[in-house]
Symmetry: C2
Subunit: 707 residues, 2 copies
């Protein structure tokens, strides 16, 4: 569903109808109705079995509510079997926004799944903007709307939160109240039968009251769609996501929990990176990042100045900065001079700037002001341990004023107990977070700097190379002709068809033909058995490299013998004779693609052998990818320095590697029936790359259907 | 100083004298005196310029205090120049325990350093147990002792904290009050002129009131001594350390802060590992770990059961467990059956055990009890989001009772705001921590499990091999004879002398001699230029491998030519002719040692080339090391699977690698004048190891002095 045409009503309604309103003790319907008492607009109760509920008139049906068509939002808390029919009556009235609290749908088994399918059909028929089912509701603090059955209501703010877990929202609300974390909207997504995370990020991007989008998810159904939407949103509005079910056991838990199939975490990681979504790993982090992004402007540089009245905390902060992508700022000469004039002799003019335990507010003022004024400083961390010289509240006010005047991001660590908590409120009024632990302050600042990079980046469309799609199709069609799903080196021309260099070579079926081809190619050649049944050719003696002309015929027989003794039933397509690739200064890499159920094709790049297998030094991106994204794959692996020419070697032809990744991306995007593809090795040399082998799997039904 | 003879008085005094007692507003002396008002024992004020201070009689000098000899502790808050002389008068009275609050010593420059040297001399003369100088004081909650000038006093508990940063203590005290974190002793170590961290860990190990030792440090002067002491302490008492100045910029900050030279973090990391010290990376972690260790018994296994009323939080916990060294427990069949009988149909009998949002206390009771009773469960995490069904305080009480009855470690996540904080107090009475964020609960549990492994481990003494120490000495003495500090392959017999295999070979100085040696060795040989001035022999054409007999003489000349064209002034000691080492199934590793200023020799093990240089895949341990420690080096590197025979290869001779590391450890321990030593490569094959080259540096002055 296109989010742009659903921009009003659901989260900013004036008139609300509660269908299933009741005053029964401990019921969800009653809790919800009580929570709605703070709502600025009108609340209408619908229940055919009641005349009145909690002092409100109770209507028989939605149709009997006066001016039912002007109801902005219907909240359904009926037993599951009654929901679908009710939705038709809601739709009949022209009401478009619905929250279905009722459980008993796809989360419960076949019957529920059927019920949910019917719900979706009705929603489509009436073009309903529907949250749930199995949602705990929605909140919108600008109108005092609390359409949930939770206890507690968070303060107003500019974070908007959505969650696939209702329990997560239940936990966060009470905690947010205590820690004064303000929200604009909160949405419990429930089963996401109609509206999902992709709809809400677009909606909140358009919402001037939302500065930061915070998401708790366990899976994303349509990863590609999410990436495309999020990529646009994150140009203006930061998205911070806590994706759980990260790890394999976690994913198993997610599966049994939501009845959904979690995608591999590599796909999520790649997708979030490409979409510019910031990923937090803990609940604490997701809100630390959210608050920082909501409160402070973006830094111009990732350099940090530290002002502290305690040495130890300054060192702890330095450690945290060094562990991050931030850097300690190098103060300018002018800053040094100014500080030298301002500070007592015992103070150490350095970064961190330790203004010593007897620092008063005036010394803090001078120091913070001076450091903020330094162009080489992108952001400032102000640390204070408690002293008898001033109250934290006074320092908080000072920090706030100085931050506002300088308009650079600031984070505080007022390190103490109760008084620090009180001071936190003053700092919050300037949008400045404060933490006891400097590592949290630094992590938040890092998120701010990361988002600054994201907001700056310009999205280019994936390149479209001139390729021979017809030829590629022919090669893939071999699978249909031969009724196999896997292809090996016999499909290497597929790569040529997409402009990825391969060695000159041919597949032959006799020793004589082998000699002819070897003669044409000239010089010693490489010979490889070609068989769909033999995956690890080298391991079974199926490959000979550097075969001289006079040995070619004999080697042909040897390869066949080796193949036969490995598997006498193996289907042998012949022997590939190909030109040798000079190994001088070359490195073996792998480029590949697998199809992920949520995100589509996932591209892979890494060094061969143990680097992939033991070090798991692999970069992933979803296809189709841009040149920048392909380039970043070659930069993010740990072994990247080897490509850049470490240890006295000439640098590899990086451009050719980047182009190969892009061409492979185009290949799998144009042939979605390819479920797996490995180019292994892709030999990378200083002046070119060459693909020596290929393995791929196709979904034959899909391939033939796409003909 | 031996800690065992200083076991009373300092931290459990009855009579205290404050030297420099004053009622001057905003003075340290006054703040200290006011804080001492809560002390259970007697406080005596000493100040020649006052008759009375804050209602207390003021004595002229320590000598004029009645029964001065029975004073257990003197606290000195005098200006720095008066301190040393005063300490003599203190010593004269037979008082042994002193805390010097006064600053103005080694932290301030040459004059202060001189003053500190004098202080140390006096302390030695009188055998004083002295904390400081430049300490903010000490606290001991069992007697209500607050001999600091801080605001606030923490609750009583079983953590004992020492810190090299006074600011750290100032920050922690207020925060501990707010979060109800209890302490036994708190010591601000100051400049550690006399007593340091090593003294206090031994003391607190003997102290029945201290369950866990928590340390904030920026450096350790004598790392070896600390390791030895801590290794014994951690058999009974967990030590959790927050070591800052971890990173290079951090270390620079530490240096300018404390005037001390920080050791390399690798040495600290290795030393802590060997000493069984748990390292935390943030302030939050150090106290999370400390509280868990103080409150809960050790788990029998590292398997965790999760009971939750919310799916999302359960998945988050699972993720955190999978990221840790803990494991999700597999519930027994009996547990499954029992849970199946107890729980409603919608509940998912799995781990995490989701007992669903409508769970009441009875369901929690049954589930927690059943999971705790399962032998396959080592520890339990109980998660609850707020619901209308029960109060957190009731659940807290229930968890506490069940934990006490089962006597297995439990950690809670009562996820909410204010009510969770109140429930935390009840849980604390059972020693059970609770966190909003499940990742913190899991991290604490991991620390508990880690300590369980530490407490179980048995320390064996480092092996002592039968070596030819005389021969080794002769080889090292070459540096004295030739007046060089570095030796290369000419010193390879040093390894033979210590039982590390090297190829048969000799250094020759003429083509003819080369031929003779090659003939004796037989077969093709390896030839290497021998020169202290050429470090990277291969890079300059100084090595030829597989030289046939007839080529030996010519190759000799070629190597010399290559050396000359690289550096015509290079000192050439000859050419080493040696037997070829078959590279079949062998791998090149590096074993080395460097001398760290704090920890002595640090041993290194890793794979050669890019594994060390780019992946930094290196294990470190301090020497002398035990077999277990040497073995753990071969296990902890990322490339470890390569040694175990990954990718179809035969496993390497691990025992030989482990023994080589131990022998190298013995070598550098017996010749401390070796400041650096690299065995590179140590070729590791399935049936042996062989060292192909060596490079070392000695401190010649030290070497000759040790003769």
């Amino acid at each position: 569903m296109d989010a742009s045409d659903t921009s009003s009503g659901l989260l900013d309604p004036n008139r609300i109808a509660v269908i299933g309103a009741t005053d029964r003790e401990d019921s969800v319907g009653r809790a919800l109705l009580e929570n709605l008492s703070t709502f600025d607009g009108e609340v209408l109760a619908v229940n055919p079995n009641r005349q009145e509920v909690l002092g409100m008139t109770c209507y028989d049906s939605i149709g009997s509510v006066p001016e039912a068509a002007s109801i902005d939002l219907a909240i359904v808390v009926l037993p599951a079997p009654a929901v679908v029919e009710t939705l038709s009556t809601v739709g009949d009235q022209g009401i478009r926004n619905v929250v279905v609290i009722s459980a008993g749908f796809s989360e419960t088994g076949p019957e529920g799944q059927q019920r949910e399918a019917e719900l979706i059909a009705v929603a489509e028929e009436y073009d309903l903007d529907l949250v749930g089912p199995n949602s705990i509701g929605i909140m919108s603090t600008t109108t005092g709307l609390d359409a949930t059955f939770l206890q507690g209501y968070p303060p107003e703010g500019s974070l908007s939160l959505m969650s696939q877990s209702g329990a997560f929202i239940a936990a966060v609300v009470g905690w947010a109240i205590q820690h004064d974390i303000g929200f604009n909207n909160i949405v419990s997504l429930g089963n996401e039968a109609v509206l999902d995370e992709t709809d809400f990020i677009a909606r909140w991007d358009d919402d001037s009251e939302t500065d930061v989008i915070v998401i708790y998810i366990e899976d994303i159904d349509n990863g590609q769609q999410f990436i495309e939407a999020a990529r646009e949103v994150t140009d203006h509005t930061p998205i911070v996501v806590l994706k759980s079910g990260r790890t394999e056991p976690g994913a198993a838990a997610a599966k049994s929990h939501t009845g959904s199939m979690a995608g591999s975490d590599d796909a999520y990681e790649a997708g979030f990176e490409q979409a510019g979504v910031l990923r937090a790993m803990t609940i604490q982090d997701v809100f630390d990042y959210g608050q920082m992004l909501a409160g402070q402007r973006l830094p111009e540089t990732n350099t940090v100045g530290i002002v502290t009245n305690g040495g130890g905390p300054g060192v702890l902060t330095t450690d945290a900065i060094d562990d991050s992508r931030l850097e300690l700022a190098a103060f300018s000469a002018e800053t040094h001079e100014r500080l030298d004039a301002q500070l007592p002799e015992a103070a150490d003019i350095a970064n961190p700037l330790d203004i010593i335990g007897d620092a008063d507010l005036e010394r803090f003022r001078n120091s913070i002001q001076t450091v903020l004024a330094d162009d080489s400083v992108g952001a400032v961390v102000v640390l204070s341990v408690p002293t008898a010289v001033y109250e934290f509240a006074e320092l908080a006010e000072l920090i706030g004023e100085l931050q506002a005047a300088a308009d650079k991001p600031v984070v505080a660590c007022l390190m103490g107990g109760e008084p620090a908590d009180q001071a936190a409120e003053r700092l919050a009024s300037y949008g400045i977070p404060t933490h006891f632990d400097p590592s949290r302050a630094v992590a938040s600042l890092e998120a701010l700097a990361d988002y600054s990079t994201i907001a700056d980046r310009v999205y280019e469309e994936p390149a479209e190379f001139d390729v021979d799609r017809e030829r590629a199709r022919e090669i893939l069609n071999q699978t249909l002709e031969r009724e196999v799903s896997h292809l090996g080196v016999e499909a290497i021309e597929l790569l040529e068809a997409y402009g990825i260099p391969t060695p000159d070579g041919e597949i032959v079926e006799s020793p004589a033909a082998a000699e002819t081809v070897a003669e044409r190619i000239g010089g010693p050649v490489a010979m490889k058995i070609v068989s769909p049944d033999i995956v690890h050719k080298s391991d079974i003696g199926g490959v000979e490299v550097g075969v001289r002309l006079q040995e070619v015929a004999e080697t042909y027989e040897t390869l066949l013998d080796n193949a036969a003794s490995y598997d006498s039933a193996a289907d042998i397509l012949g022997v590939r004779i190909e030109a040798l690739v000079a190994p001088d200064e070359s490195t073996e890499t792998i480029v590949g693609a697998t199809r992920d159920p949520q995100f589509g094709h996932l591209l892979l790049f890494g060094f061969g052998g143990i680097f992939v297998e033991i070090f798991e030094d692999i970069a992933f991106r979803t296809a189709p990818l841009t040149r920048r994204e392909a380039k970043s794959m070659t930069e993010e692996i740990q072994a990247a320095p080897m490509l850049r020419g470490a240890r006295g070697r000439r640098p590899a032809d990086l451009e050719a590697v980047i182009e190969t990744i892009q061409r492979l991306s185009q290949l799998v995007s144009e042939f979605p029936s390819i479920t797996e593809l490995d180019v292994n090795p892709l030999v990378v040399a200083p002046e070119d790359v060459v693909a020596l082998d290929v393995r791929l799997t196709v979904d034959r039904d899909e391939l033939s259907a796409s003909e």
